[in-house]
C-alpha cells in the first residue's frame, strides 16, 4: 500500500517536471496554428514609459572612480569631456561632449578643453572648469583610495599626487571658468580615447564635497550632467533613473530607466517573455527558442561587439614558459569546433591582437592552424612528449566558459597534454590571475571600453603582464610595443602596432585569440529607435529609444 502511493507521487512529481520541460513546444504549435497575429497584440507591459533592464552585478557605488562592477549607470548619469560615435564607415570617432572643442599643443603634451557653456548638473550647479580639475584630482587623491585612478595615469603629476607628495594634481590647470588645460607627462595617442571611458566621468565639486560618504549612494549628492538623473536605489533590489529635462543635448524620450538587481538567468527569460523586461542578451542555448518563435523572431538583434574570447598563457608556469609548448597548445585547440559548438558557427576566428570594430583591426593575419600532429611534434621538440600537465583556471561566475574549457581539456588530451580545470569564485579568480601562480592557462572574454587599440597591445608588456596573468619575460618585444604605441600619428601608430601582431600571436605565441562572437540580444516589441552603444552596451540606447504606448497597459 505504502509503496503504491509513493510510486503514485513519484509519477506525479515526474510529470510536473516533464510538463515544465516539454510544454513549450506543444503550446507553441497551437499558438502558431491558431493565432499568429493575435499574439502580437497580446504583448502587454505594465512598465509605462520607463525602460526596465537588469544589472549583471550590484554596482556597489555610483562613484565610478571606485568600482568596475557597473559602467552602465555612470555612462547615463554623468558625461565625459569627449564621447564616441560610430561613423558611416563603421569606424569609431571621438566627438565633443562636455568639451565643445579642444586644442592640442604642438608637442602633443597639453590638451586645452573649451567647455560648453550653460551645462547644468542635476543639482542646478553650472559646469565649470574647476569641476574638471576637482574630478581628476579626486581620482588620484590618496585619501579617496580610488581603484580607477589609473584612468588619469598619463596626466602630469599623477604619481606624485597618488604618493601624497602634492596637494593637487600638477597637470590640470583651470584657465578660466570654461577652459581647462590638461598636461600629460608624455605625448599619448590614446589620451582622448581614454577620456571617453566611464571612469573619466565628470563630477560636481559642490555635490561631492557636501555629500562626502553619501556621494555614490544618495541621489541628492550623486549628480552628473547626463541625460538621466539618479532617482533612487533600493538596496539589492532596484535603481531608478529619470529623464533630465534640462540636458544640454536633446533630452531622452523615455521617462526613465529602472534597473533590477539580482535577477537569476532563468528568471530573466521568464520575466522578459512576460513583458516585465525590455531587453535581454540571448545566450546560445536560448537562441533557437527565439528564432523558431513566430512572435519573438522579429525582435532579435544580432551585433558584433568589440570583444573577443581569448586564452591567457601564463609564463610563470614552467611548461607555458616554453614557446614550443605554447605553440603546441595553440595547434592542439580546434577553434572551428568551439565556434560550431558555442558560437553557433557565427563567431569570427581571430588571429591577431584586436577584436573587430577597434581601430587597426585587420583580417589579414597569419592564421593559427589546428594541427594535432604539429602539436605533438612541437611537444617532442620541447622535450615534453607526454609529461605536460596544465591547469585551466575557470571563473566560477562565468558559466559559459565552463563547457568550452571542458572541450579544450579533451582537445589538449588528444595532443598528449594533461589538463585539469580549477574552478573558483570571481574574486578568487582575479586574485589568482594577478598573483600569477597556480594556473597555466585561462579562458576569458574582453570587451573594449574605449575605442583605442593601445590597451590590447600593452597587455603584453612585461610591466602590465605581471598583473593580467601573462607574466611575460620578453623585454625586447615589450619595448617594441611601447615604442609603437607611443607614436602620435594615428596611422603610423596603427601600422607600427600591426607590424607586431604576428610576432605576438604566431612567433612568440604569447596567447591564443579564440573568436569574436557575434552576439544576439532581444528587445521588447514596445521599443522603437533602439540602438546599442558602440561597445554593444544597452545602456547607451536609453538616450534615443522610444516606447510605443500601445503595448502599455
Amino acid at each position: 500500500m505504502k509503496k503504491k502511493f509513493l510510486s503514485l507521487f513519484l509519477v506525479a512529481a515526474l510529470s510536473v517536471s516533464m510538463f515544465a520541460g516539454c510544454g513549450k513546444g506543444e503550446e507553441k504549435k497551437e499558438e502558431n496554428a491558431a493565432a499568429k497575429n493575435e499574439t502580437k497584440t497580446e504583448y502587454v507591459s505594465k512598465n509605462g514609459n520607463t525602460m526596465v533592464l537588469t544589472l549583471f552585478q550590484n554596482p556597489k557605488t555610483l562613484d565610478i572612480q571606485k568600482t568596475n562592477a557597473d559602467y552602465f549607470i555612470p555612462l547615463q548619469i554623468y558625461d565625459r569631456l569627449v564621447d564616441v560615435t560610430v561613423n558611416e564607415a563603421g569606424e569609431t570617432e571621438i566627438i565633443p561632449s562636455l568639451a565643445e572643442k579642444w586644442d592640442i599643443s604642438e608637442d602633443g603634451l597639453t590638451y586645452t578643453f573649451h567647455l560648453r557653456k550653460g551645462v547644468k548638473f542635476h543639482n542646478g550647479e553650472e559646469l565649470k572648469a574647476d569641476d574638471v580639475l576637482f574630478t581628476i584630482d579626486k581620482a588620484v587623491n590618496p585619501e579617496e583610495a580610488c581603484i580607477n585612478a589609473a584612468q588619469y595615469q598619463e596626466v602630469k603629476g599623477y604619481q606624485d599626487r597618488l604618493d601624497g607628495k602634492t596637494d593637487v594634481i600638477e597637470g590640470v590647470k583651470v584657465i578660466d571658468d570654461y577652459t581647462v588645460a590638461i598636461t600629460l607627462s608624455a605625448p599619448s595617442a590614446s589620451f582622448l580615447a581614454n577620456m571617453t571611458g566611464a571612469p573619466a566621468s565628470i563630477y560636481n565639486r559642490k555635490a561631492v564635497e557636501e555629500g562626502k560618504d553619501k556621494f555614490g549612494f544618495d541621489p541628492e549628492y550623486t549628480v552628473g550632467t547626463g541625460y538621466m538623473k539618479f532617482k533612487d536605489w533600493t538596496q539589492d533590489q532596484e535603481i531608478n533613473l529619470v529623464r533630465n529635462d534640462e540636458y544640454f543635448n536633446t533630452p531622452a524620450k523615455i521617462d526613465g530607466v529602472r534597473y533590477l538587481m539580482n535577477i537569476d538567468a532563468s528568471t530573466e527569460r521568464m520575466m522578459f517573455e512576460n513583458g516585465e523586461l525590455d531587453y535581454m542578451g540571448v545566450k546560445a542555448d536560448d537562441l533557437e527558442h527565439f528564432k523558431n518563435d513566430e512572435f519573438w523572431k522579429d525582435y532579435l538583434i544580432g551585433y558584433q561587439p568589440p570583444s573577443m574570447d581569448y586564452m591567457i598563457f601564463n609564463q610563470n608556469d614552467t611548461f607555458m614558459a616554453d614557446v614550443n609548448v605554447r605553440k603546441a597548445v595553440q595547434a592542439a585547440i580546434n577553434r572551428d569546433l568551439i565556434n560550431q559548438n558555442f558560437y553557433n558557427g557565427e563567431g569570427t576566428l581571430l588571429n591577431g591582437v584586436l577584436p573587430p570594430a577597434i581601430p587597426g583591426y585587420s583580417e589579414d593575419q597569419t592564421p593559427i592552424k589546428y594541427d594535432v600532429e604539429e602539436a605533438k611534434k612541437l611537444l617532442k621538440e620541447a622535450g615534453h612528449e607526454s609529461d605536460v600537465t596544465l591547469t585551466i583556471l575557470q571563473n566560477g561566475e562565468s558559466t559559459y566558459t565552463h563547457p568550452i574549457n571542458e572541450m579544450i581539456q579533451s582537445m589538449l588530451g588528444e595532443a598528449g597534454i594533461k589538463a585539469e580545470i580549477k574552478n573558483m569564485d570571481m574574486t578568487s579568480y582575479w586574485d589568482t590571475i594577478a598573483s600569477g601562480e597556480g594556473y597555466s592557462i585561462s579562458l576569458g572574454p574582453v570587451t573594449a571600453d574605449v575605442p583605442d587599440p593601445g590597451a590590447f597591445f600593452t597587455t603584453f608588456t612585461v610591466e602590465n603582464s605581471a598583473s593580467n596573468g601573462y607574466n611575460i619575460k620578453d623585454k625586447a618585444l615589450s619595448d617594441k610595443i611601447k615604442e609603437a604605441n607611443a607614436k602620435l600619428d594615428p596611422k603610423e601608430r596603427i601600422a607600427a602596432l600591426q607590424a607586431l601582431e604576428s610576432e605576438i600571436v604566431t612567433e612568440q605565441a604569447l596567447y591564443l585569440p579564440i573568436a569574436a562572437e557575434k552576439r544576439t540580444c532581444i528587445i521588447s516589441p514596445r521599443l522603437k529607435n533602439f540602438q546599442l552603444g558602440w561597445q554593444g552596451w544597452v545602456c547607451c540606447s536609453t538616450h534615443n529609444v522610444e516606447i510605443d504606448d500601445s503595448y502599455n497597459k
Binding site: A13, N68, F217, M261, I263, D264, E273, T427, N464
Partner: protein, 306 residues
C-alpha cells in the same frame, strides 16, 4: 528561571566572539579581498597594493581583529568596505524584508502543517493520510531550488497568477513563502502526526474517553497540547534559521534580504558586512533556542530549569 536565562545569555557572548574570530580567520585565508573584488578584470597589482594600504587591509590580522572588537563593544558594526555605508544601515534595510518573508513562510507552514498533522493522525492509514504524508515528504525531500523554479515556471510564468520575481507587493511574497514553507510544513505535520498517534494511545486519553468527553475536545485540549511540545523547538529553530536569510529562495525570487546581503558580502570580501550578517544570525539562533526552551517550560509543567 531568571538565573537560567541569565546563564544562557552569558554563554552566548563567547559563542558570538568565537564565530567572529572564525569568520575573520577564514576570510583571511580565501584568495582576494575587497580591492580585487572591485577591480575585477581591470586588476592591477600596483593599484591593489596602493588601495590595500589606503584601506588598511594589510595590517596584521590581530590588529584588525582588535580594532573590530573595540568598535563592536561600542556598538559599532563598522563600515562596509565596498558600499562605504555603515553595516548597521545595510542590515537595517535588508532585515525587514527577511522578517516579512520569514513570517509569511512560517504562517504558511503552521496554518498548513498543524491541521494536516492532526487530520493525518486521526485518519491514520487512510488515503487522505497517505496523500498528506506524501505531499509533506515531497516538501521535505525536494530541494528548495527545484520547488522554487518549478512553481515559478508553472504559476508565475505559464499561468501568470503571481509575479515571477521581485519584492514590491504582497503578491510577491506568496510564491517564496510556499517554497520555504512547504518543507517546514512537511516537517511539522509529520512530527505532529507521529506524536499525536502516540499520545492518543496514552492512558489518560483513554480515561478522558471513558469520562465521555467529545473526540474533538479530547484531541484539542488533551492530546494536542502534549504532542505539539516537541514540535515547538523545531518550529522556533525553523523560524530563526529563516531570519538568518534564505539564500536560495532569495536568489530565485530576487528578494533583497539578509541572504542576498551576506552572499554579496562574501563575494565582495566585505568583511565588516559579512561579520554583521553572521553576528545577526548567530544572535538570532541563540535567542530563538532560548525562547523555545522557555515556551517549553511554560507549556509543560514537568520541565524546569533550575
Amino acid at each position: 528561571m531568571r538565573k537560567y536565562i541569565a546563564k544562557r545569555i552569558a554563554v552566548s557572548v563567547p559563542i558570538i566572539l568565537g564565530v567572529i574570530l572564525i569568520t575573520f580567520v577564514l576570510m583571511n585565508y580565501i584568495p582576494g579581498n575587497a580591492v580585487t573584488a572591485m577591480m575585477q578584470n581591470k586588476i592591477n597589482n600596483e593599484t591593489v597594493a596602493r588601495v590595500e594600504e589606503e584601506m588598511h587591509l594589510n595590517d596584521p590580522i590581530l590588529v584588525r581583529f582588535g580594532l573590530y572588537i573595540k568598535d563592536l563593544l561600542h556598538g559599532d558594526l563598522g563600515t562596509s568596505f565596498v558600499m562605504n555605508q555603515p553595516v548597521f544601515n545595510l542590515i537595517k534595510n535588508a532585515f525587514p524584508n527577511t522578517i516579512k518573508l520569514a513570517l509569511s513562510a512560517i504562517a504558511f507552514a503552521w496554518i498548513l502543517g498543524i491541521p494536516i498533522g492532526i487530520i493525518s493522525a486521526l485518519k491514520k492509514n487512510t488515503c487522505l493520510d497517505k496523500l498528506f504524508m506524501g505531499v509533506s515528504l515531497m516538501g521535505i525531500s525536494m530541494p528548495t531550488f527545484s520547488i522554487g523554479i518549478i512553481l515559478q515556471y508553472l504559476i508565475a510564468y505559464k499561468l501568470k497568477w503571481l509575479p515571477i520575481s521581485g519584492f514590491t507587493t504582497p503578491a510577491h511574497l506568496i510564491l517564496p513563502s510556499i517554497v520555504l514553507g512547504w518543507s517546514m510544513a512537511g516537517e511539522i505535520s509529520r512530527l505532529i502526526r507521529t506524536n499525536l498517534i502516540d499520545v492518543i494511545q496514552a492512558d489518560y486519553i483513554t480515561t478522558a474517553k471513558a469520562k465521555g468527553k467529545s473526540r474533538m475536545g479530547i484531541v484539542i485540549f488533551h492530546a494536542l497540547k502534549m504532542s505539539i511540545l516537541p514540535v515547538i523547538t523545531i518550529m522556533m529553530m525553523q523560524f530563526t534559521s529563516l531570519l538568518g536569510g534564505a539564500l536560495i529562495t532569495e536568489n530565485i525570487f530576487s528578494i533583497p534580504g539578509i541572504g542576498t546581503l551576506s552572499i554579496s558580502a562574501l563575494s565582495n570580501r566585505d568583511i565588516p558586512l559579512l561579520q554583521g550578517t553572521i553576528i545577526l544570525s548567530t544572535f538570532l539562533i541563540i535567542i530563538g533556542n532560548l525562547i523555545a526552551d522557555i515556551i517549553y517550560a511554560l507549556a509543560d509543567p514537568r520541565v524546569h530549569y533550575d
